[in-house]
């Protein structure tokens, strides 16, 4: 056990650890979701499927 915070090190490190893991998972989830959506969007564009507003702008 790392004793940098005295006898309560375990509780403190566990708190910061769980928070870090939760936030890290949240960041990975949000950015991974964005990557998948961008990929799907470019695949649709490559297939010639566009939004109605894109057609209207041309």
């Amino acid at each position: 056990m790392i004793e940098i915070f005295g006898k309560y090190s375990g509780y403190i490190l566990a708190s910061y650890g769980i928070s870090a893991v939760t936030i890290l998972l949240l960041i990975i989830w949000v950015y991974q979701d964005g990557r998948i959506l961008n990929k799907t969007l470019s695949e649709l564009n490559e297939r010639g499927i566009r939004r109605r507003s894109d057609h209207a702008n041309k």
Partner: protein
């Protein structure tokens, strides 16, 4: 008179929103990382131990901002729900949907870090007192709202149903805030936002406020990014539906001549 007038409603345009988002995201991200680094340094190393609680007071620097953010996220969702139901703002339900998982995550952090703080100080991981129970209810409300979003396929219909439930659920926010005043709880009363000002030494208050700002910036970055994702998801959905309709009408027009 010939000048084109600017309407605030123009900001509601999702395309314009995405352009603004792309411009502000990088500086916001840098600011968030810097503030988290400074906040963690103060919280873990450059702040004193409490004369009664010892080093466990360091848990406060993540527990309290997480609690504030859990309530702040729900308040954002409530305002967004009003935007959905009253003003029919096109980004309102996008905002509400994107904030729910973030609020759930911060509620989870608040509950778990509270347990890790409670065990050495109270001698128990959990107690069914008003503050802890109401925070647990908020976490469950978040999970319920996220499930409802997934249960209804049409995002417009889902947005309206979730908005009504969100407004009803807002009652939990004042209950959480004032639970320590209304009931006798094991949880300590408010020490920062009180009528007489903060009841905390500035050596602890400053790190706490830095962590609160850092957490709020983190929430903002993730919320904006999740909102962008939701806008893209809806665009993809409408493009896929448009493609399916086109394919369907093409199939009908081909099939029609051969019909006797």
């Amino acid at each position: 008179m010939g000048k084109k007038s600017f309407h605030i409603w123009e900001l509601a345009n999702p395309t314009r929103f995405l352009i603004i988002l792309d411009r502000i995201m990088k500086p916001l991200l840098i600011l968030t990382i810097l503030s988290i680094a400074v906040g963690l340094y103060f919280s873990l190393f450059a702040s004193p131990e409490d004369y009664q609680q010892g080093a466990t007071v360091r848990i406060m620097y993540i527990h309290v901002p997480a609690a504030w953010l859990a309530m702040f996220a729900y308040t954002v969702m409530t305002i967004a729900s009003l935007g959905t139901l009253v003003w029919k703002h096109p980004l309102a339900d996008v905002s509400a949907k994107s904030a729910a998982p973030l609020g759930a995550a911060f509620s989870f952090i608040c509950l778990t870090t509270g347990s890790f703080w409670g065990k050495p100080m109270w001698g128990t991981w959990w107690v069914w007192d008003a503050r802890l129970t109401s925070m647990l209810i908020l976490f469950i409300i978040y999970l319920g709202l996220m499930s409802l979003w997934r249960a209804i396929e049409d995002p417009i219909r889902a947005g309206k149903a979730v908005a009504i439930l969100t407004l009803v659920g807002f009652v939990i926010i004042p209950i959480i805030k004032f639970s320590v005043d209304w009931w006798s709880t094991l949880h300590q009363p408010a020490t920062v936002f009180t009528m007489d000002g903060p009841k905390m030494a500035s050596s602890m208050l400053v790190p706490l406020l830095i962590m609160a700002v850092a957490s709020t910036l983190l929430f903002t970055v993730l919320h904006l990014k999740a909102m962008k994702n939701e806008i893209l998801r809806r665009r993809i959905r409408s493009m896929q539906m448009r493609a399916a309709r086109k394919a369907g009408s093409g199939a009908t027009s081909v099939a029609t001549p051969s019909t006797p």
